[in-house]
């Protein structure tokens, strides 16, 4: 019963939090560029407006994929709030990510196709890193279950500082922020137009936006596991992580996908190995 309440709570609260974070993100970005910026609730206006638009779809598959994407994202956040298994959460969110790519691939538009290919490469880049992070959490705490991880007596950050940075890479890719925004870009006036999102419009774009908020919360939740012992520590950790994320977004230019794959994998794997060796030898 308690689990069910937690799941529902997660599914209802997460999009609001995610939307607020997205709004804050835009506001802070605007301030970095010495602009005033939109109101913090702007993402909600955007999504509400998208839901009010006429549905234009290319094929049924696209609609299906948008729904599966948002359902998978919501479910993974619900499972996270219900303190379920990390691996289960991982697989559920991976299904969502793959369905987004399939939706984009189902249309003949070249922008959508290229965006989908790049999104696939992004998935390929961050998924192994997330798995490595989960495995190292397992090695420290002896469990994949979040409720058991939360029992652990000291912050995971003490044992896995480098893994947190690896998770930071995954977070940047998952949030589609520079320098890793290959498959789409926030302000879609670049070479890809809008990449994976090109062919989604109106309510379906709104659904994808909501799914994105869920994913933000999910990854930030996983970051929060690294300082689960005190609430203040958790909040400080999340705030600094997200601020660093916005700073990186504003100061980095986009590179090529080859660079991303080589750079993120080499640095990510090196850091994981150093961290795990240190965990055992230290």
């Amino acid at each position: 019963m308690k689990t069910l309440i937690l799941i529902i709570l997660g599914i209802v609260v997460a999009p609001f939090l995610g939307g607020l974070i997205a709004g804050l993100d835009r506001k802070i970005t605007a301030r970095f560029q010495s602009r005033f910026g939109p109101p913090i609730v702007q993402p909600f206006f955007d999504v509400a407006k998208l839901f009010g638009k006429v549905k234009v779809v290319n094929n049924f598959w696209q609609v299906f994929c948008a729904w599966i994407y948002v359902i998978a994202a919501a479910l993974s956040v619900g499972l996270f709030f219900a303190q379920s298994d990390l691996l289960l959460i991982f697989f559920v969110q991976a299904i969502g990510a793959v369905f987004l790519v399939m939706g984009a691939l189902s249309t003949p538009s070249p922008y959508s196709q290229v965006g989908a290919q790049r999104e696939l490469i992004q998935i390929l880049t961050y998924e192994p890193l997330i798995i490595l992070v989960f495995v190292s959490i397992y090695l420290v705490t002896g469990s994949f279950r979040i409720d058991e991880i939360l029992q652990y007596s000291q912050p995971l950050m003490h044992k896995l500082p480098l893994m947190f940075i690896v998770l930071g890479y995954a977070l940047t890719i998952k949030l589609r922020k520079s320098p890793f925004d290959f498959s789409t870009s926030h302000h879609a006036h670049q070479e890809l137009v809008k990449g994976v999102l090109t062919e989604f419009s109106g309510p379906y774009l709104g659904l994808i936006e909501i799914a994105h908020w869920y994913e933000t919360i999910l990854i930030l939740g996983i970051c929060a596991l690294f300082w689960h012992t005190s609430f203040i520590g958790m909040v400080i950790l999340l705030v600094t992580t997200y601020l660093a994320e916005i700073l990186i977004d504003n100061t980095m230019a986009r590179m090529t996908w080859r660079w991303m794959l080589g750079y993120v994998w080499s640095i990510g794997l090196a850091m994981s190995f150093v961290n795990l060796i240190w965990l055992y030898a230290g």
Partner: protein, 144 residues
């Protein structure tokens, strides 16, 4: 309540798309000036998108001629309703100084319906922002 929020949101989040007909580039840089930190239209929720499927408001600068009329029509058709069109500058309104040219059809309204006309050669950024706000009036009247 939800419907009311949607119709309110329409006015709060107009995503614009910019189409350049045969402009001298004067009006185009004024449109882009609106997006710079000086005018910062993002504070009204205005985002410049490059994709007609995501756009709510189409800004058209420059003359419309036999060549680009098809393109303009195509872009307009790809935008999902509700949508608005703003013609910018003397060229967009009527053809401006290029009016007499053999290839020029005239204003934007020869091809697609226009909601707001922003005169000027070039149109001032303030006037363009005013034009977008006036186009939002059309959205506000719509029921969610």
């Amino acid at each position: 309540m939800f419907k009311k929020f949607i119709s309110k949101s329409r006015a709060k989040s107009p995503w614009i798309m910019h189409f350049d007909g045969g402009s001298c580039n004067g009006c185009d840089i004024e449109v882009l000036a609106c997006l710079t930190p000086l005018y910062d239209v993002e504070r009204f929720g205005i985002v410049n998108v490059g994709n007609p499927k995501h756009a709510d408001v189409l800004l058209v600068t420059g003359t419309i001629n036999h060549r680009n009329a098809k393109v303009l029509r195509n872009i307009y058709d790809q935008m999902p309703d509700p949508k608005g069109v703003i013609a910018i500058g003397a060229c967009g309104l009527s053809g401006g100084i290029f009016r007499e040219c053999y290839n020029v059809l005239g204003g934007v309204d020869k091809v697609i319906p226009v909601d707001v006309y922003v005169p000027g050669c070039p149109a001032k950024p303030e006037a363009i922002i005013d034009g977008v706000v006036a186009a939002l009036g059309k959205f506000e009247g719509l029921k969610g």
